[in-house]
C-alpha cells in the first residue's frame, strides 16, 4: 500500500491502475474539445467549415461507453449525422475528422461526405447518415450479415429521439426481432428533435415503451453515466452474441449545443440548460474517478492540455491540407470500371 498523503485528502493513485478509466475520460474530453473547437472554426470569420454541422457536446458518455466494449473488426456501429463523437471514440484520427469538416482530400471521406458522413470501414464505423431514420434498416441489415456469416459481431445502431417517429423504425425493429439479428438499437434521447420536445412528437413519452410491440427487451438508461452505458451495452451485446436477438435501449442524455449551427435554441430555458450542465457526463465521471482514487488533479489537467493540443494540431493540419482535385469528383461513384463517359 502506498503512503498516505497528508497535504490533502486525495487518495493516492498508482500509475497503471485505472488506466482504462482514464482513457475513457480522456476520450470524452477529446470529443468535447473537438466539438467546441469545431464550433469556433465554424462561426469565426472566414468560415472554413460549411454545410450542416451537428455537435455532440453533452452526449459523450454514450459513444465512449459503446466504444469501451466495441470489438473492432467484428462489431459495427451505424449512426445518424451527429457522428463526430462516435467516430473519434472508435479511434478515428482527429486529423482525418477535422480535415473532413474542412472538406479536404485527407478527410475520412475524402472531403466528399462532410460533417454528417464520417465513415471508417476498417474499424466497423459504418457512417453518419443524414436522412432521419434512413439508416435504421441498414443497421438491421449489417446485423443480419453478422448473423448470416456467424461472425459473433453485433451492430450498434444509433439514432435520435426524433427518428423513432419514422416508419423505418417500425419496419426495422419488427424484422430485427423476427429474424433475431444481433442488433442493439439505441436512441440517444437528448430530449429534442431540432426544436421539438419528445412529448410533442411521441404520443408515448416513455420512449423505451415504443419497442414494447416487438418482443425484444427494452429499457431506458442513464446516458450520462458512462458506467451504466457500458454495463447495459455489454449485456445487450452479450445477448446478441449468444444469438438471442436484438435489444432496444433509450439512453437519456442532453445536448449542450444547438441542433446545428444555425439554431438559436429559443425552445430552451436558461434554467433547463443550467440543470443539464450539472449532469455533464464528463464532470460526473471525473468526480467518480477521483473518488475511486483513479485520477489526480495533475492527471486531469495534463489530459485537458493534451487533448487541446491534439485538436489544435488537427485544425492546423486540416487548414494546410489540400482540397481534393476537381477531377476527383468523378471518382468513387461506382466500384466497377465500365467503358463509361463521365
Amino acid at each position: 500500500m502506498s503512503v498516505a498523503n497528508h497535504v490533502d485528502h486525495a487518495p493516492v493513485v498508482s500509475e497503471s491502475k485505472g488506466q482504462a478509466e482514464r482513457d475513457r475520460l480522456r476520450m470524452m474530453m477529446l470529443i468535447r474539445r473537438f466539438e467546441e473547437r469545431t464550433y469556433q472554426e465554424y462561426t469565426k470569420p472566414g468560415q472554413k467549415i460549411g454545410g450542416f454541422c451537428h455537435l455532440y457536446s453533452g452526449q459523450e458518455a454514450v459513444a465512449v461507453g459503446i466504444a469501451s466494449i466495441f470489438q473492432k473488426g467484428k462489431d459495427y456501429l451505424i449512426n445518424a449525422y451527429r457522428c463526430h463523437g462516435h467516430s473519434l471514440a472508435l479511434g478515428m484520427d482527429p486529423r482525418a475528422a477535422m480535415a473532413e469538416l474542412f472538406g479536404k482530400a485527407t478527410g475520412c471521406s475524402k472531403g466528399k461526405g462532410g460533417s454528417m458522413h464520417f465513415f471508417q470501414a476498417e474499424v466497423g464505423n459504418l457512417g453518419g447518415h443524414g436522412i432521419v431514420g434512413g439508416h435504421i434498416p441498414l443497421g438491421l441489415g449489417t446485423a443480419f450479415a453478422q448473423m448470416y456469416k456467424k461472425t459473433g459481431g453485433v451492430t450498434f445502431c444509433l439514432f435520435g429521439d426524433g427518428a423513432i417517429n419514422q416508419g423505418t423504425f417500425n419496419e426495422a425493429l419488427n424484422m430485427a426481432s423476427l429474424y433475431k439479428v444481433p442488433a442493439i438499437f439505441i436512441v440517444e434521447n437528448n430530449g429534442v428533435a431540432m426544436g421539438t420536445q419528445v412529448a410533442r412528437a411521441s404520443a408515448e413519452p416513455e420512449l423505451a415503451k415504443r419497442a414494447s410491440g416487438y418482443h425484444m427487451p427494452y429499457r431506458a438508461i442513464d446516458g450520462n453515466d458512462i458506467d451504466t452505458v457500458i454495463a447495459e451495452m455489454n449485456e445487450a451485446a452479450q445477448r446478441g452474441r449468444r444469438g438471442e436477438g436484438p435489444t432496444f435501449l433509450v439512453a437519456n442524455t442532453y445536448r449542450f449545443r444547438g441542433h446545428s449551427m444555425s439554431d438559436a435554441m429559443k425552445y430552451r430555458s436558461k434554467e433547463e440548460m443550467e440543470q443539464a450542465k450539472l449532469r455533464d457526463p464528463i464532470s460526473l465521471y471525473e468526480i467518480r474517478l477521483r473518488e475511486k482514487g483513479l485520477l489526480t488533479d495533475e492527471q486531469a489537467d495534463a489530459m485537458e492540455e493534451e487533448v487541446a493540443e491534439v485538436v489544435a494540431d488537427a485544425v492546423r493540419q486540416a487548414d494546410v491540407d489540400p482540397h481534393p482535385m476537381l477531377e476527383d469528383r468523378f471518382n468513387d461513384v461506382l466500384a466497377e470500371q465500365y467503358p463509361l463517359q463521365k
Partner: protein, 314 residues
C-alpha cells in the same frame, strides 16, 4: 400563405418545425401566433405520415399546405405523393379531387452533401396527376403559390433554400400567376435560353448578361415557371423565331429535366433549327460536400456562355 389562410379557412399549414420554431428557415414566422395551433401544426419527423394526412384531408375538403424541410426528404414519402396524391382522382373516375400544395426547398443549396441536395423535379414532373411549379423570383413565388393553393390538384412547389432571402418587388395586393404559362423574361432574336428556378437565379441571368453585353448575342430568356404542364407553345414559338436553343438546369443530364423539355421542342422545331439544341446540366455524380467540387459539378456562367456561343457558331 397567410393571405390564403385568411381567405379560406380550409387552408392549413403542416410540417416539421413550422409552428413553435417559426419554420426551420423562418418561412412561417409569426403564423402560429396569427392562426393558432389548429391551423399551423408541428409534426413529428414522419414525412410519410403527414404527407398522407394531407392527402387524406384534401380528398374530403381541406386544402393543406404541407411543408417539407427539404424536398430531399420526400424520398421517404414518395409513395404517398406518387401513388396516392397523383392517382386518387384518376382511380376513382374523377370522384375525388386532391387540392394540396407540397412545398419546400429543392436542389443544391451549399455543402449539404449528397443526401440533402436532390433535384427532385424529374421525379415528380414525369408523374401524370401532379402539377409542378418552380418560381425564380419573389414576385413569382407569391403569385404562383397563391395559384397553387387555390388549385384543385396536387401541386409540387419547388423552392430553394438559397432563394429564401432574395429581395424583389412583390406587390402588396392579391395577385396570382397562372400555372402552365412560361414567362419570356427577356425577348431577343438570336437564341432562346430556357431555364427555371434556382439555376436561373444562380447563374443563367448572369450568363445572359454576359452574352448580351460582352458577345453581342441577343438572347431570348424563358423562365418555364411550371414544369408540368409544360407551356410547350411558348418555347416552340420562341425557338422557331431564334432558330437556336440552350436549356439549362442543375439536374443530371441523362433522363434529366432539360432532356425532357428538349424532347418536347426538337421535333416541332427541327426544320427551324440552325444548330442542335444544347443542354447544360450538372455532372453525373452524387453531390460532393467539398465547396469547390460542388461548384464544379454545376452549370457555371462560363459553361452556359460557351454553350450559347457554340450554338450561335461564335
Amino acid at each position: 400563405m397567410t393571405e390564403e389562410m385568411e381567405r379560406d379557412e380550409n387552408v392549413f399549414l403542416m410540417g416539421e418545425e413550422v409552428a413553435e420554431y417559426n419554420g426551420a428557415y423562418k418561412v412561417s414566422e409569426g403564423m402560429l401566433d396569427r392562426f393558432g395551433p389548429k391551423r399551423v401544426i408541428d409534426t413529428p419527423i414522419s414525412e410519410a405520415g403527414f404527407a398522407g394526412l394531407g392527402i387524406g384531408a384534401a380528398t374530403v375538403g381541406l386544402r393543406p399546405i404541407i411543408e417539407f424541410m427539404s424536398w430531399s426528404f420526400t424520398l421517404v414519402c414518395l409513395d404517398q405523393i406518387v401513388n396516392n396524391a397523383a392517382n386518387i382522382r384518376y382511380m376513382s373516375g374523377g370522384q375525388f379531387k386532391v387540392p394540396i400544395t407540397f412545398r419546400g426547398g429543392n436542389g443544391i443549396a451549399h455543402q449539404l452533401g449528397a443526401t440533402h441536395s436532390h433535384r427532385v423535379e424529374t421525379i415528380y414532373t414525369r408523374i401524370p396527376g401532379l402539377t409542378v411549379v418552380t418560381p425564380s423570383t419573389p414576385y413569382e413565388a407569391k403569385g404562383l403559390l397563391k395559384t397553387s393553393i387555390r388549385s384543385d390538384d396536387p401541386v409540387i412547389f419547388l423552392e430553394n433554400e438559397k432563394m429564401l432571402n432574395d429581395a424583389g418587388d412583390v406587390p402588396e395586393e392579391d395577385y396570382t400567376i397562372p400555372i402552365g404559362v412560361a414567362n419570356i423574361e427577356r425577348p431577343g432574336n438570336d437564341i432562346t435560353i430556357i431555364s427555371y428556378g434556382r439555376p436561373l437565379q444562380r447563374v443563367v441571368r448572369h450568363a445572359v448578361q454576359a452574352l448580351v453585353n460582352d458577345h453581342g448575342i441577343d438572347v431570348e430568356l424563358i423562365d418555364v415557371r411550371t414544369l408540368r404542364p409544360l407551356d410547350k407553345n411558348t418555347l416552340i414559338e420562341s425557338v422557331k423565331k431564334t432558330n437556336r436553343c440552350v436549356i439549362v438546369d442543375e439536374d443530371y443530364g441523362y433522363c434529366g429535366m432539360g432532356a425532357g423539355i428538349l424532347h418536347q421542342i426538337q421535333k416541332p422545331c427541327f426544320d427551324y433549327l440552325d444548330a442542335p439544341i444544347e443542354y447544360v446540366h450538372s455532372d453525373e455524380i452524387p453531390v460532393p460536400f467539398n465547396h469547390f467540387l460542388e461548384e464544379a459539378m454545376m452549370p457555371s456562367v462560363d459553361r452556359i456562355v460557351a454553350a450559347a456561343r457554340d450554338v450561335c457558331y461564335r
